[in-house]
């Protein structure tokens, strides 16, 4: 694989940082153990730990995620929540080129050429943290939040403020939320960027929850988001047909170009229904998404929570997602950006990131949760995540199929 117009490129595997020996994790654990000592009485305070193993088939991406969360009500009007996340990421990811069999080359090459999209190996670690304080005053609830995320190529600082108001003897709840992220994308030997890039995102949410009866909750949320700055994927390239290619197994690519502004509109609705006779509850949700990249997406989710005996809950779930392609998505593009006499055929924006293509995804699985002791809940879950292209052009090999295993615990203190 070559970066067109510059030196030959091969992403360098990044040295993995020491994992669980990181001081922040030890500190979080020590703090949690200390908080547990403070109050042994049965309470709503808790400390959660959860491990998730996300593994795509065929040597594609694998991510092991560990999350530590604590929640404590320190005063009747104040609840504190803190969370630390550690991701270990490694695996192969598509570079943006179509399969070698679809690349035209002036040199006759012996068949067979691979029909799978070329990938590159990458490795990274990510530390992230979140802290929030939930303030309550009668029917008013205000929650400021701060977040931080750090990878070797991405840094994010976030602030958010959520407000909710209880009305009608808590039958109705109105919600307002705002969040801002300040992100930096950092260059390295494998990226198409050479200087630090910036991205800013604003989210505004307005929503309401309404009880329809003693067994039914209905929720509506509307979100408006705008992002500006560097919105490209710094690792993905794009093939231009008229740029002379050598060996199709090592195509020369150009950096993708997405707009530097994106507005998103999201409408979300969910219903939760308690079914006393079955000792279970049903959950259904729908989300409509539209943005200025030209993407329209529909998401439908259903879950069932079944109580078994006094301690066990089994929750099967199913989620379907479908999106249209971004206006500027293509598997390969006509023209040659390096030829000054050829610029009229180059579109303003172009990306071959398969995640912007017309596609659908299926998620299905189940989780089991067991309250083994009055102060301890354990959970175990397994899901499959399948992506499928719908445009008939993007190679099926681009799409990921993954198994997700989760193991977790909650300690009440």
């Amino acid at each position: 694989m070559n970066r067109a117009g510059t030196q030959a490129l091969k992403p360098e595997p990044q040295p993995a940082e020491p994992g669980c020996q990181h001081p922040a994790a030890a500190l979080a654990l020590a703090a949690a153990l200390y908080l547990m000592q403070l109050n042994r009485a049965a309470s709503q305070d808790h400390f959660d730990y959860r491990f998730e193993n996300y593994q795509e088939d065929n040597g594609r991406m694998g991510v092991q995620t560990q999350t530590w969360l604590f929640e404590k009500t320190v005063k009747p009007w104040l609840t504190l929540r803190g969370q630390v996340v550690y991701d270990a990421i490694s695996g192969n990811t598509p570079i943006g080129s179509p399969p070698p069999s679809q690349i035209k080359s002036p040199f006759p090459l012996p068949p067979p050429l691979s029909t799978s999209v070329p990938t590159a190996f990458l490795r990274d670690n990510r530390w992230a943290g979140e802290f929030e304080a939930a303030l309550n005053y009668g029917p008013h609830h205000l929650t400021p939040q701060f977040s931080y995320s750090s990878e070797h190529d991405y840094l994010s600082y976030g602030a958010a403020l959520n407000y909710s108001l209880d009305l009608n003897e808590k039958n109705t709840s109105l919600n307002l939320g705002w969040a801002h992220d300040w992100d930096s994308i950092l260059p390295n030997g494998a990226t198409y960027i050479f200087t630090k890039q910036h991205k800013n995102t604003d989210d505004i949410l307005i929503g309401a929850s309404q009880l329809l009866g003693p067994n039914t909750v209905l929720t509506f949320d509307f979100t408006f988001r705008n992002s500006s700055g560097y919105l490209n994927d710094p690792y993905r390239g794009v093939l231009f047909d008229d740029y002379p290619q050598g060996d199709p197994n090592h195509p020369s690519l150009f950096a993708e170009r997405r707009p530097d502004y994106r507005e998103c509109y999201i409408a979300y609705a969910s219903v939760m229904q308690y079914i006393k006779a079955l000792r279970g509850s049903a959950e259904g949700s729908y989300r409509f998404y539209a943005d200025t990249f030209g993407i329209f997406a529909h998401t439908v989710g259903v879950a069932w929570h079944q109580k078994i005996g006094p301690r066990l809950v089994i929750s099967p779930l199913f989620r379907y997602y479908e999106q249209s392609a971004a206006d500027f998505y293509g598997t390969q593009f006509a023209g040659d950006p390096s030829n000054p006499y050829d610029t009229t055929r180059i579109p303003a924006y172009y990306s071959a990131d398969y995640r912007l293509s017309h596609m659908e995804t299926f998620t299905y699985g189940a989780e089991v949760s067991a309250r083994v002791l009055s102060w301890l809940t354990l959970n175990l879950g397994f899901k499959r995540y399948e992506m499928m292209g719908l445009d008939g052009v993007t190679s099926p090999s681009a799409y990921a199929h993954a198994s997700i295993l989760t193991v977790g615990s909650r300690v009440w203190f």
Partner: protein, 168 residues
């Protein structure tokens, strides 16, 4: 500020106005006479002859989080002020008798516990939250009302109020 945000805020304000205030319906107030417990159709053994006694009536449920914290406190108040004439009556609004029994197994107490199975008394009193408790004087009049249970703060208020009622 983009126009869209102002539109959203305007809609939000009108929605708040439309849905009205947060105040509960007209419940029992201080100075009102508490309904007669003997005639309320409650399950369990109601202490007879409450005339002249200071009574703490507490509405609770097995599913109510703060109720788990209030029970040990009420047990201590029962031990401390029972000999001086305080009567504690805890009325469960559980629709399932087994839920109430399971709760009492985990939180055993020695004061009177009754069940408002039909949820008629609690509706008549129209409590604003769970749990809610009412301190009654010797004439059966409501003197103090507690909405919710807030740990040490509520406990201190109970002690102060019970002392003032028993002192008379």
């Amino acid at each position: 500020m983009p126009t869209l945000r102002l539109d959203l805020l305007a809609l939000m304000a009108s929605l708040c106005a439309l849905l009205g205030s947060n105040a509960g319906a007209g419940g029992l107030k201080t100075g009102d006479t508490f309904p007669d417990l003997q005639a309320a159709g409650l399950e369990g053994h109601c202490p007879a002859d409450l005339k002249g006694k200071t009574v703490l009536v507490d509405f609770w449920a097995s599913w109510c989080g703060p109720c788990k914290q209030s029970f040990p406190v009420m047990e201590e108040l029962h031990k401390q002020y029972g000999p001086r004439g305080l009567v504690i009556i805890a009325i469960s609004v559980d629709q399932n008798k087994r839920d109430m029994a399971d709760f009492l197994k985990k939180n055993p107490v020695s004061f009177a516990v009754l069940r408002d199975a039909a949820q008629k008394l609690v509706a008549r009193v129209d409590v604003a939250a769970m749990p809610s408790s009412f301190l009654l004087d010797g004439q059966g009049k409501v003197r103090f009302i507690h909405t919710g249970f807030h740990g040490a703060e509520t406990r201190k208020e109970y002690e102060r109020q019970i002392e003032s009622l028993l002192g008379k």
